[in-house]
């Protein structure tokens, strides 16, 4: 006789009638069960929305949006050494990436050379090492310099890139590059140990904004990326507000140093996160466009559409991902990417599913690329501009976010943002929110699949194939750097650095041309940054361990 199986005891009613427990947006905005025409009563289409490509650009910065051009598929890249990263970039491009994005490793982002004591064990781990023009030559070996490139690096790398272009006689007018001279958000992103924001930080940023605007017209020298806040607990509104408040500081400083608004404003863009709350994120980008357009138009008198349009590169939000049942992250990333495209962004990096565990492998990054490609070609969301436009919920949420963003910006107008960054007040505010978030997750108020619901026993968790840094390549690279410092024309380097020092000492001068000459002489990132630091009365080395070598 067949044995009867043990009776399953499941809470049938409870699971059949399961419902969401978190009835707000991810950021905490309370939500009604449905939105109606009443919720969008005051909206005037021409004044508050406009068609895509029309002020205030809520519906998109171009009239045809993705039907005219999809977006930049721009995966953050970099590890081990410039040579290894070069191979990685070639791989990405062969799998469909149409833009490249190289992030510096920790030594690079902190402005120390790979042979610095603090760099030991950190070279090439979380980004591409790079300290000289020679590294850029290797990084770009065989890659067309017309490729749209983002350099999420120290201030040296973009100048090294321009030096390569000059060498190959590619006019700078053809360079499509995005760079990170936004010193303010670096400490928030937890880099640039002890940057003097008030002093040389703003000086470098403003000089870069002014110089690149006139010399490299298609470049974005200031890409403001407050990921340090957004991944540390900031709300959607805070993310936008902090970045816009920072943008104002750069604009003000650059204007003070002789810039004109419609010359410089088109050269500021943003790197924002996109979380997994689809409608909040889409509404966030829409609201950001309205706030930016009004801010540039009303507060700064900008007239050019290039100034008035908020341009954004998106990175899907890594802190939404969990290592448990890691393949689930593919789904989260797909939803995040969907939200970004519904929000009308210009460029995107999709994380790999193993993000909470390690750097992407070639397989996991390919999945991240395919995520964008399926979204672009199979889902239909790219055929029509601003498909969420007119939704009662989304228009209401756009308005709510606009109000919140504007309110926070006005608060920052009254405060010293640089001081709040320096004394960690800004960071502590959002970290408190991160703490609240963690409490909510562990109390089961916020559900994270695989983490606090629908979990599997730990023994069943499959660990993904792990990315490995090429340690041999790292060793070889560090040796190369030491050899470069020995073999270069050190007299030329010394002269170039002394010239840079003179230019930086003259507080009214734009220091970028002198920095460019130093880069061409094969001065390193630490040397260039160190000279600037010394001009402002700081020790050469941010960690005060290494002396000025000349």
């Amino acid at each position: 006789m067949e044995k009867t199986k043990k009776k399953l005891t499941i809470p049938v009613e409870e699971t059949f009638f399961a419902k969401p427990t978190w009835l707000k947006t991810w950021s905490g905005i309370p939500l009604k069960k449905v939105y109606t025409p009443d919720d969008v009563k005051g909206i005037d289409y021409a004044r508050d929305l406009g068609d895509p490509g029309q002020f205030p650009y809520v519906r998109g910065i171009f009239p045809d949006m993705y039907r005219g051009r999809l977006w930049s598929v721009r995966q953050v890249s970099g590890h081990s050494s410039p040579r290894v990263t070069n191979e990685w970039l070639r791989y990405l491009v062969s799998e469909g990436a149409n833009s490249i994005n190289v992030i510096g490793d920790q030594p690079n982002l902190n402005g120390v050379d790979p042979d610095h004591p603090m760099a030991e064990g950190a070279v090439g781990l979380m980004g591409c090492p790079g300290c000289s023009l020679r590294d850029m030559e290797i990084l770009m070996d065989g890659l067309p310099l017309q490729l749209s490139i983002t350099l999420s690096t120290h201030l040296l790398q973009p100048l090294a890139y321009l030096a390569l272009c000059e060498r190959e006689e590619l006019p700078w007018t053809q360079v499509r590059g995005t760079f990170f001279y936004n010193m303010l958000t670096a400490p928030l992103t937890r880099y640039l140990h002890t940057c003097d924001l008030h002093g040389y930080g703003m000086r470098i940023a403003a000089d870069a904004l002014n110089w690149y605007s006139t010399n490299v017209p298609r470049a974005i020298p200031i890409c403001i990326g407050p990921e340090g806040i957004r991944e540390s607990g900031a709300t959607a509104a805070q993310e936008i507000a902090f970045s816009f408040a920072a943008a104002k500081l750069y604009l003000n400083e650059a204007l003070k140093r002789g810039g004109e608004i419609d010359v410089i404003a088109p050269h500021i863009a943003f790197t924002h996160r996109c979380g997994v709350d689809i409608f909040e994120e889409a509404a966030k980008f829409r609201a950001a466009r309205r706030v930016w357009a009004k801010m540039l138009g009303d507060d700064y008198g900008a007239q050019s559409p290039l100034s008035l349009t908020y341009k954004v590169h998106v990175v899907t939000k890594g802190s939404d991902l969990v290592p448990q049942q890691a393949e689930c992250n593919i789904v989260r990333i797909a939803y995040q990417a969907l939200a970004a495209i519904l929000g009308g962004v210009q460029s995107m990096h999709t994380c790999s599913f193993d993000e909470p565990i390690c750097l992407p492998t070639d397989e996991s990054v390919r999945m991240a690329l395919r995520t964008q490609q399926i979204l672009a070609y199979e889902t239909g969301v790219t055929t029509v501009a601003d498909p969420l436009g007119g939704s009662y919920y989304v228009e209401h949420l756009t308005n709510t976010l606009e109000e919140e963003i504007t309110k926070i910006i006005r608060e920052w107008d009254e405060k010293d943002m640089i001081e709040a960054i320096n004394n960690e007040e800004l960071m502590n505010t959002v970290l408190h929110q991160a703490y609240q978030f963690q409490r909510e997750v562990e109390a089961g108020e916020r559900i994270v699949v695989g983490l606090n619901k629908f979990t599997i026993p730990e023994e069943e968790e499959r660990e993904a194939r792990l990315f490995q840094v090429d340690e041999a390549a790292v060793e070889e690279y560090i040796a190369d750097v030491k050899e470069l410092k020995r073999a270069r024309d050190n007299r030329r380097v010394k002269e170039a650095l002394e010239n840079l020092r003179r230019c930086v000492d003259d507080r009214d001068m734009n220091c970028i041309p002198a920095a460019y000459e130093a880069v061409k002489a094969y001065a390193t990132g630490a040397e260039i940054q160190g000279v600037i630091r010394m001009s402002y009365g700081y020790p050469y080395d941010p960690f005060d361990m290494v002396d000025y070598p000349f």
Partner: protein, 134 residues
Amino acid sequence: MSTKKKGRVLLAKVGLDGHDRGVKVVASWLRDAGMEVIFLGRHLTPEQVVKSAIEEDVDAIGLSFLSADHKILLRKTLEEMKKHNLKVPLIAGGVIPKVDIPPLKEIGVAEVFGAGTRVEEIVEAIKSLCGVER
């Protein structure tokens, strides 16, 4: 008569990596649980951590990692602790692949908490390692 030990924990990030959301959340949680937290911040060297741990007479040290430099930095910290005869538990947390945990424990790391671990669990484990009574 039993005396309830409060538990002093030193938390820090060594090396160049600056991502400190995780360790700060753990710090707040520990404080709410009644522990004393000495938070050294970021960009410390192993030498600085051990020096502070001795000066502050802590019951445990917790280090947080995101950037895959945990192996070399934990090894250096353990060497420094041995040099100064500091015998408190060393705990690591953050983005540490599971496959790295057994070798780390073998060299002397007391506990490793990977990303996604419930903070409640981390706090209970630290309390227990510090000898704090429930």
